[in-house]
Symmetry: C2
Subunit: 466 residues, 2 copies
DNA sequence: AAATTTGTCTATTTACATTTC
DNA sequence: GGAAATGTAAATAGACAAATT
């Protein structure tokens, strides 16, 4: 029996006790989920303490805790001992953000992708392959790990992005996202925790949600994960790994400092933490930054994808793994894919071996610089983050805009951009910002038109505020 | 304090109580797992009742149950209320069975794959594509769902394998295994149960293990799932789905009867059960058998892969899904892959549209018949299951052979085959049989040599038995 | 056919560690 | 800096249902 009347103490959330046969903890979890999804509980809302709810419903604290656990694992809640449980800021955000084909009605600046080019180097490789007598072998099953020369080729490319590794540590996957999925599925169990930037790559959020792995935002200083935050997450959330994108972090565009990289490598060794290093944009860097994989090779799985720097269509990526994780990763890749396409693997390997991969990456770098020159000029006076060679930018919004509201307004104006909420992890309130995929529009003209439409919105709000 | 002394009552397994800080349930689970993996507890062993173990260790039954649950979810145990808990027959089998390149030292008859052919129809398509002015578009991102004409093409092909569907129900995936992974990850949570044949496709076992989904073997009659078994599994194990391979089931080669298909479709509707229909070999059938997807379209996700009937290298597959699962599947595919290769998708679509897919499949059928004629003759007198157009066969072993022992002996003799244990689910003792991938050896000569080596073993044992 | 064996599920008790005030 | 607030985890108690005898 409840001890007090709660009529006078307003609770931010009151579950209804429906006494059909349904177990209590499921009933509570279900109500909580539906109230969040219906918008009755807004992101950021602090829920009543578990003990208070338990008292109100006349059940045990553990029953509430179990219900909260279910929702928490679905990414709907973020809780901290001492401070309480909060509805996650990204509970409602749709994190599945594939480019949609809407017949050109909308200018795509949402999904990050490189500018479309001719890819003539790749066509040349293909023509050569087609002319070979035993072409059919590429259409048959190939060894899952790829051939030795293919891996040797990849080793040389990786060296150029600051990652020293060896052939026996490489595993091919079907693109960076597939690699992330294989790593999370193969090395973690539901309920395990992985540390991430407070704003992180949505593909990681999406995998974590699918597989029931929890993402823990790590405290930052100067735009990157700091030692204090990392240690704290190790001690408290018991994170088993930390996911980083060291070059041109998605979405903030931040490139990690040498000290930051060194700190993470050192901490990983001290705490036996795994670093998941996503080098998706590393080939864009004019000169390589030394990777975590080179600093702490036994504690890093390094993901080297060609999608955003060479060709999105090849869907190829290599994972460089320490030996102790190799079996688990190869089992996981087997379970998810059986094997990759030996055809694509061969094309990509030849493109890499011939040096064309770097040529193409350099071309994408140049193209991005050209587009960014335009964008920098048009958005002069606004707080626009990101290096000139980066294929996306991070715009901090003026006035009263939130990322979410700006995203909707932009969409209504015919431009797709993604607001900060899509990248936010856990309960922290995201900055007012949007990501601009500057290489995604079909042409410079389209890019200009897109930015022009955004400018209208940016100015309008400022005027309204006066 | 234990009430009785257990010295006189021998228990099949006695955990050691190590009183360091480790939680009891984890200690028990860890010991159990290591004893199984070390071979101290053999497959099929009945473990002591949970209450007996609880009494022995002086802990609560639930603690034992929790520990068993952990091992059970890892696929190490199979338990039934009333009869007890058993060590799973496939606890030790390595289910990751990619073909290994060992320099031709061993004849590959383990991994199922079609015979290697020229694939000249595919080269022709590729040449055509390369000559087109805007070839570069295939190397860029494409719409995740594929274009409308690609899906229309797929619809027409699916119709020819007995599956009536529409374009809006199709989602492309990177091969059949990738489709299975996306379905299991997207539509089920860890702990959910899926019904399967008592001998099932190892790729399914592998995904289930990775994702913590439980496979429940369904009772059979005449080589296929029967109504009684299915109803029983619905009522007791609360299965949410049943996974079937209706044509040329892997590994038993069984093709389901019309009545069996109808029964499953009917039961699925009655019980709101999802049918996961893996049509990986359906194109091999000389005439189509009506699929479950056509019989119970709102209750079936149908997987149509080209790997084993057209080209393993294309890694293309379509999932035909009822509308209610489409969003979840597309999210899951996004999380696992981001997207497929628009290049491979286009090649495959053109191969299908031109009718070459069927031409190639028909060629594989002919080639299989040629090989099977040889195998039938050489193994005359043995119980060899499977139709002549099937690219693998199922050999019931004479004498005292178990599948596992035969597999080892064959491996020592230089032939890779897979024993029944690799396919077995749960605690049921698998038949004494091996699967022979008759299309996998490089040539007919190699196939003959492989079968010759197997014959030596088959005869040897029989002599030893006299 | 009824009693017993057996695994599983929910909810509780208790202890603990961190954060907040 | 210490007490209170708060979430989490382990182990238990008890009820339940299926399978066996």
């Amino acid at each position: 029996m409840p001890v007090n009347s709660f009529e006078n103490y307003p609770m931010s959330w009151k579950p209804r006790r429906t006494d059909d046969g349904e177990p209590l903890y499921l009933m509570i979890a279900r109500q909580l989920e539906s109230d969040i999804r219906n918008g009755d509980l807004l992101p950021g809302t602090k829920l009543p303490p578990q003990r208070e709810l338990a008292d109100y419903l006349d059940v045990n604290v553990s029953t509430i805790s179990r219900a909260f656990g279910i929702c928490s694992r679905k990414g709907l809640l973020g809780g901290t001992v001492g401070s309480g449980t909060f509805v996650a800021y990204d509970a409602l955000a749709n994190i599945n953000v594939t480019p949609q084909d809407e017949g050109g009605a909308i200018i795509e600046m949402g999904s990050v992708m490189p500018e479309r080019t001719s890819y003539e180097e790749i066509s040349a490789v293909l023509k050569k392959m087609l002319s070979e007598p035993d072409f059919g072998r590429f259409l048959h099953y190939g060894a899952a790990a790829g051939s030795l020369w293919q891996r040797e080729t990849a080793v040389r490319l990786l060296r150029k992005t600051g990652c020293e590794t060896t052939e026996d540590r490489l595993l091919p996957a079907n693109g960076g996202q597939n690699a992330i999925a294989a790593i999370v599925a193969g090395l973690f169990r539901p309920g395990d925790c992985i540390g991430v930037d407070p704003m992180t790559y949505p593909g990681m959020k999406s995998v974590a949600k699918l597989l029931g792995v929890r993402l823990i935002p790590i405290g930052q200083e100067r735009g990157e994960i700091c030692e204090e935050g990392l240690i704290h997450a190790c001690d408290n959330a018991k994170i088993k790994a930390v996911y980083i994108m060291p070059d041109y972090q998605n979405p903030t565009t931040h490139t990690m400092s040498d000290e930051g990289r060194e700190m993470i490598a050192r901490t990983a060794k001290e705490r036996d933490l795994l670093i998941i290093e996503d080098a998706i944009h590393s080939l864009l860097a004019p000169r390589p930054n030394q990777s975590a994989a080179s600093r702490a090779p036994e504690h890093t799985v390094h993901i080297a994808s060609l999608s955003n720097t060479v060709s999105p269509g090849l869907r190829l990526c290599y994972i460089a793994t320490p030996p102790r994780y190799k079996d688990a990763l190869s089992d996981s890749l087997y379970s998810l894919n059986l094997t990759g396409s030996p055809f694509l693997l061969e094309i990509a390997s030849r493109v890499i071996a011939s040096g064309s991969a770097e040529t193409i990456a350099a071309r994408h770098r140049e193209l991005a610089m050209g587009r960014n020159a335009v964008v920098n000029e048009m958005l002069a006076g606004y707080d626009l983050r990101g290096a000139d060679e980066c294929i996306f930018r991070w715009l901090l919004l003026p006035g009263g805009w939130s990322g979410e509201r700006f995203e909707s307004a932009a969409s209504a104006a015919g431009v797709r951009v993604y607001g900060a909420e899509r990248f936010a992890v856990g309960k922290a309130k995201p900055a007012a910002a949007v990501r601009l995929a500057i290489a995604a529009p079909e042409s410079i003209e389209e890019l200009k038109e897109g930015v022009r439409r955004l400018l209208v919105l940016l100015r309008k709000e400022e005027v309204a505020k006066l």
